[in-house]
Symmetry: C2
Subunit: 344 residues, 2 copies
DNA sequence: TTGTAAGCGTTATCAC
DNA sequence: GTGATAACGCTTACAA
């Protein structure tokens, strides 16, 4: 019943009274092997249902054809789409994907990195935890020549590889729209300071206000850790101002969902009493009534598959070390994006 | 720069003028190794930053400590939650998870199975494609002693292991509620015939109608392939009847989203002109206005982590073949579920 | 207490 | 054309 003995090259060799190397070569259609032998080998292989044990080959090659993906949370559509993108790219190159969910927990992130190192993945793609502010655990991968590419939630540093979005033009369009509608008091609900995206949003926000000759008011700039309760606190803080902002730029669509709930709870009406612009472009807006004026797509799938492509490139360039070409860092800032207007 | 030479057991042995086996044993705190030697080994290991190459160990053990998960589409929250559940269960047992998205494409499913076989995963969890109606590709895993557990989208057969939901009580509650509200004309939008869930829903539907002494009308039972356009067609068909059903049981929340859109497009109002009951309990209902009267949770995470636990059990029982205990099949029908009422 | 050797499945190198 | 051998990194009888 327990037919534990899978056919191996040796077994085929034994049956045909040839050597294992001959079988190996025959199976690969090596030109130096005679046609008859090759055919006989293939015949027996067929009969036995032989299939090469890739784990042996990978072990020998010191490769696993596996990339590790570390993301905060798969139940966020953004990350599951990202994973889809990665899987597509990986599959096209015959790579496997193993996943680790950090659940926005730094210790878990560290543990996952450790595990992936143990499994000797060929490379790692990371979208950081909200909590992550040190990167030693990733540096440890260097020793193993395991390249790392960050995407979307990237650290605020330059000595790393990352893929992120350029949100400038989209945000400028969105703010222009608000201004044209007569709004001048435009607030910002930003994310945690550790994320590069947070600084980025603030910078663009300031830049856009400047272009429209609008004043910069610190009282309508708040931030959230992205936790649900904190999102509520952030929007409530704005709503409780003597003069609440007429429009708010929100860190992302998930934060916005909570903002909308808070607005409703306060008896106000979205797009009448207050308007929003957000980032992510969730597929569900299409089915909802209270929607942002614009939700700026960050192309989870596109971003992540670019990151995956880049990672695979790094893996291959590490495999064939070219002395003339030093290991390079690259920051891909994807600037093609759409300002997907939903309502307004 | 390319420090390809990672520390190995041999290297440590060389430095200490001991044998590799001594090092191996010392690292595992084997009692037969002297305390001094053990300490010296650990010291050098530490200095070199030695970490065991698990791929070598796994290769030797003929295990990969990896389970493969094949699901239709990660962007469906149901499946991403399922994956989360699986990952949790796997991680607790120090297993890795590699994923494959079939994208509801039979050929892809076959290819993924092939790939997982090549990677010698220790077991496979599957939620089937809409298209899948033959199972030979899974049978091929038997030869490699790779156990398979189906979950949620399980084949309509008994000679397999699976984990699925028992929806009877939830659906009965839901229908009772509709009846109590005065509805007697309750329709059904069912899924593709290949899925066990489809048959299941039909059976329960009939059973519930019977319990309430309601007539069974074929004209208000329609089905969809689950494709968006087809969902629309199904609901439109019901709406265009002379006497449309007052309430409809819908295959799942994704189908329902499209139904709701169609209802609105027809100028009708959900929960006034027509009501719905559905399966899945999407997290987004909380943020929406047009919602089902009840959305019956199928516990993606729970179902899938049960499946994962079961699979791990199978893996372990295969590893220690107990002749007295034949390889067993099991059908886990999870009957604990909630009828999560959202509106009404 | 430690060393030797064989083995996991495959391929590359060298020899005949 | 084909075979023997070594090697990938590690574990484990069996010897000493």
């Amino acid at each position: 019943m327990y037919n534990n003995k899978l056919p191996t090259i040796k077994e085929i060799a034994r049956r045909l009274n040839v050597s294992a190397s001959t079988v190996s070569r025959a199976l690969h259609h090596h030109p130096s092997i005679g046609l008859v032998t090759t055919m006989r080998v293939h015949k027996v292989a067929q009969e036995l249902g032989y299939e090469a044990n890739k784990t042996a080959i990978y072990f020998k090659e010191r490769k696993t054809y596996t990339i590790g993906v570390i993301i905060p949370d798969l139940s966020e559509p953004f990350f599951s789409s990202a994973l889809t993108g990665i899987e597509d790219a990986a599959e096209a190159s015959n790579y496997n994907v193993i996943i680790g969910q950090s659940l926005d927990n730094f210790e878990r992130e560290k543990k996952i990195v450790e595990n992936m190192k143990n499994h000797r993945v060929d490379g790692v793609l990371v979208s950081l935890t909200k909590e992550t502010s040190t990167y030693a655990h990733f540096d440890s991968l260097k020793k193993y020549n395991i390249p790392v590419v960050f995407f979307d939630r990237v650290p605020n540093r330059q000595d790393i590889n990352y893929v992120a979005c350029n949100l400038v033009s989209g945000m400028l369009q969105a703010i222009t729209k608000l201004v044209n509608m007569g709004h001048s008091r435009i607030g910002l609900i930003n994310g945690p300071a550790k994320l590069a995206a947070t600084l980025q949003r603030l910078e663009i926000y300031i830049q856009c206000l400047k272009q429209h000759h609008l004043p910069l008011n610190q009282d309508i700039i708040v931030s959230t850790t992205l936790a649900k309760a904190d999102n509520r606190k952030a929007i409530d803080q704005l709503l409780s101002l003597n003069e609440p902002p007429a429009a708010v730029i929100v860190f992302n669509d998930y934060v916005l969902l909570d903002c909308i709930a808070a607005v409703k709870a306060a008896g106000l009406v979205v797009n009448k009493d207050i308007s929003f612009i957000s980032f992510a472009n969730l597929p569900i807006w299409e089915y909802m009534e209270s929607v942002p004026l614009a939700s700026i797509e960050q192309f989870a799938g596109r971003q992540s598959s670019m990151a995956a492509g880049f990672l695979l490139q790094l893996i291959n360039s590490a495999a064939t070390p070219n002395v003339t070409e030093p290991p390079f860092l690259q920051h891909i800032i994807d600037s093609e994006m759409i300002d997907y207007t939903i309502a307004g």
